[in-house]
């Protein structure tokens, strides 16, 4: 489906998500399914941290020479008999794909999992033009039945539980016997597989994304766990690869390096079950493969990131580790972010793609705990990049007035210690008086966001700086007194002798 942008309503979305008991249960799976597995698999690989450095360096190098690698890639694809199409915008990409589908008289299109397809709203576009897209990744298939957007970039249906999926299958597969047993995840999987098998065979065009495009060989690479990607790209007569410009890497060897951190960071697997390399259409003598091989390379605003502050974001290999480890994502899930890319990577990327005026909440909805950066396989400094967005919002006066006024007032005092010290002393004494002797307050004026959920401690009766001054003065007085007494004692001693 075309993802409607609801990022401006992030707060409202988040509030609804926090109240959604089913969603909250489902979010528990993120922690159980990803975090421990990643930690275990990373700790088993002594060179994991070095591989992260290498992966970062490969991506940095590629971005520094992206024009050359894109041209080299196009040349190689062409030599292998494929066609590269350049799409500057989402609209361009939709048009190019639709044109290919129309020319091939496609009625059914199978799709491997592709976040770029979500980004450009491909499915709706195809449906509008009488072509039926069928998602073949199990998670994507489920959310397509529900007409929902993915809530996670590698586990699109993670927000759902088994009961919901069973209900969706019973509703959508009405031709199957009503009394069939769908109690086990395996039976759901078997049913999806049987339904999809027919679609694979009927498809006229197969569309996949790409985890990598290799300049050296003109190859596109997908990593999957279900094998659906292979059936999507081998069985139909036409294979369209849809990928964004930053998927380029120079060589096969570079891909093998990055693959070693990708699955480990994503699912905690050493390797994904399938890693599929596709180069051009079927050659004479090949047992299978498409007649036509197209690659649609999307820019959609990315090239403008290359020369700017957000360039490092283009290193992203879409593993999802940042969202798996994000406390905010863990609390509200992916849909709250209101567009295609959730979590910390979305908080940086989304404003670049749809504008900070629409996505303003996203880089702010972070505690800056730094766990995303800690686990990112290509070491993207996500908190720093989110802060850059906050800078821009502040410069453009997009940050909320309350924040600006609050900060301004605080700065007014904090910049002037001669004013700050007496003012804060007075404020804390007042607060202490207001708080009385209970030790804490259940309600505090202007701090409803805090006291709605937590108590606030009553401050000690004076500031540290004031107490310290007194303490030091008292120490000095005692010292002087002791010295005076010693002198007196000495004099008395002299007299006595």
């Amino acid at each position: 489906m075309t993802v409607q942008i609801t990022s401006p309503k992030f707060k409202k979305n988040a509030r609804a998500a926090l109240k959604d008991a089913q969603l909250q249960r489902a979010l528990g799976k993120v922690e159980a399914g990803f975090i421990g597995k990643r930690r275990a698999v990373a700790s088993r690989l002594p060179e994991f941290e070095v591989l992260r450095d290498l992966a970062r360096d490969i991506k940095d190098h590629t971005l520094a020479h992206l024009d050359l690698y894109l041209e080299a890639y196009e040349r190689r694809v062409t030599e292998e008999g494929g066609t590269v199409h350049w799409a500057a915008t989402a609209e361009d990409a939709r048009r190019i794909i639709l044109d290919i589908c129309k020319r091939r008289e496609a009625k059914t299109v199978t799709k491997g999992k592709s976040m770029i397809a979500e980004e450009i709203g491909l499915n709706d576009h195809l449906v509008e033009h009488g072509i039926a897209p069928v998602e073949t990744d199990l998670g994507e298939y489920i959310i397509q039945l529900r007409n929902e957007a993915p809530s996670h970039i590698i586990a699109p249906a993670i927000h759902l539980n088994r009961d919901q999926i069973e209900a969706d299958f019973r509703r959508s597969h009405a031709d199957l016997p009503a009394e069939r047993n769908l109690d086990e995840p395996a039976s759901l999987m078997a049913e999806a597989r049987a339904v999809l098998r027919a679609k694979f065979l009927a498809a006229d065009v197969g569309i996949t994304g790409a985890n990598f495009l290799i300049a050296e060989t003109g190859t596109s690479v997908i990593v999957t766990n279900e094998g659906n990607g292979d059936l999507t790209q081998i069985l139909p007569k036409t294979h369209i690869v849809l990928a964004s410009i930053e998927k380029l890497v120079p060589t096969l060897e570079d891909v093998t390096t990055i693959l070693r951190v990708l699955a480990r960071s994503a699912t905690g697997q050493e390797m994904s079950v399938y890693t599929t390399f596709s180069t051009g259409p079927r050659r004479a003598g090949d047992p299978d493969g498409p007649e036509e091989y197209h690659v649609v390379i999307l820019d959609n605003g990315r090239s403008s990131m290359i020369g700017g502050q957000f360039r490092e974001m283009l290193r992203c290999i879409r593993c999802g580790a940042c969202m798996n480890h994000c406390p905010v994502y863990g609390a509200v899930g992916g849909h709250a972010y209101g567009w295609v890319y959730p979590g910390p990577m979305g908080a940086v990327l989304t404003p670049s793609l749809i504008g900070i005026d629409k996505a303003g909440h996203l880089p702010n909805a972070s505690t800056f705990c730094g766990r995303c950066e800690e686990v990112c396989p290509v070491r993207i400094p996500l908190p720093k990049l989110m802060r850059y967005w906050r800078d821009r919002e502040f410069e453009r006066h997009l940050s909320p007035a309350t924040v600006r006024w609050g900060l301004g007032l605080w700065a007014l005092f904090a910049r002037r210690p001669w004013l700050y010290r007496p003012a804060t002393r007075l404020a804390m004494k007042t607060l202490a008086l207001f708080g009385g002797r209970r030790g804490r307050m259940h309600w505090l004026p202007l701090a409803g966001g805090w006291t709605r959920h937590r108590d606030f401690p009553v401050p000690e009766r004076d500031t540290f700086q004031a107490q310290w001054k007194k303490h030091r003065a008292e120490e000095a007085r005692k010292k002087a007194q002791a010295e005076a007494e010693a002198v007196e004692a000495g004099k008395a001693g002299e007299k006595a002798t």
Partner: protein, 261 residues
């Protein structure tokens, strides 16, 4: 690393706004620990490191505050803060803030190199091996994010807590996961912050420890406030209070002792 002038390094205590305003005890605990470790402690007139402005995108205000902090503290051998978050701001983010302004950047770099969070300063710089404190009981320890991930503070507090006679540290699940405070985050997104601190509070309570310690007052106030609202009997204190032998004083949010000062 700074040259230490004379046998007793002069430490400028950057007490942090929250400690200054809400819980001065922590400042006294920090001063005691520093003096016990052989430092001369001074508290120059100060306010905020500028982090709230920095994280809200207001670089101009941040710079003004940072310049004041640098000018105030650069004459000391070390700057020490009882907070990983504020120490991290001075140590790591000031140099970033002044990038491209050679004069200020040099001063920011120089100050950053001499700025430390309290407990890591005691262990890593002053080579403190143990504290002379007796406390019979069990505590659990929360790793505040900035200290943990920006400054690598993990073993230092555990090491010193391990030297408190009679004290057991019961590790909680996900001690290294954010408590949901996040500075201005907790007031900008109160419901999300609450959901995160609820999980944290459950992990704290599950240890059975009657006391929670951590190294940042913001996180401590957040967790204490939540535990109290949940009516859980967990006393919450800054780790410096325990290490300075002040853990019998009223905990965060507890009423002052009657009759006492």
């Amino acid at each position: 690393m700074a040259e230490v002038t004379g046998p007793r390094p002069r430490v400028g205590l950057f007490v942090t706004c929250l400690v200054d305003l809400i819980r001065p005890k922590i400042g006294f605990a920090a001063a005691k620990l520093l003096e016990d470790a052989g430092c001369t402690v001074e508290v120059p007139s100060q306010s905020c490191c500028g982090q709230p402005a920095y994280n809200s995108g207001d670089r101009a205000t941040t710079r003004q505050m940072a310049e004041r902090v640098i000018a105030t503290f650069e004459s000391y051998d070390y700057v020490v803060a009882p907070s990983g978050s504020c120490a991290g701001m001075i140590k790591l983010h000031y140099p970033e803030l002044f990038a491209g302004d050679a004069g200020w950047q040099r001063r920011a770099d120089a100050l950053g190199a001499r700025t430390f969070e309290l407990v890591s300063f005691l262990v890593d710089v002053m080579k403190v091996e143990r504290v002379n404190v007796i406390y019979e009981g069990t505590v659990t320890y929360h790793d505040s994010c900035s200290g943990l991930r920006e400054l690598g503070i993990r073993e230092q507090p555990r090491k010193l807590l391990g030297s408190v006679a009679g004290l057991t540290v019961a590790e909680m699940k996900d001690a290294d996961v954010c408590c949901g405070f996040g500075g201005t985050f907790c007031v900008k997104y109160p419901e999300i912050s609450n959901a995160i601190v609820e999980k944290k509070a459950e992990n704290i309570v599950a240890t059975g420890a009657p006391m929670l310690l951590a190294g940042d007052l913001g996180c401590l106030m957040n967790m204490a406030g939540k535990l109290q609202r949940m009516r859980k009997a967990v006393a919450v204190r800054h780790v410096a209070e325990m290490l300075a032998g002040m853990a019998r004083e009223p905990a965060i949010g507890e009423p002052p002792k009657t009759g006492g000062a």
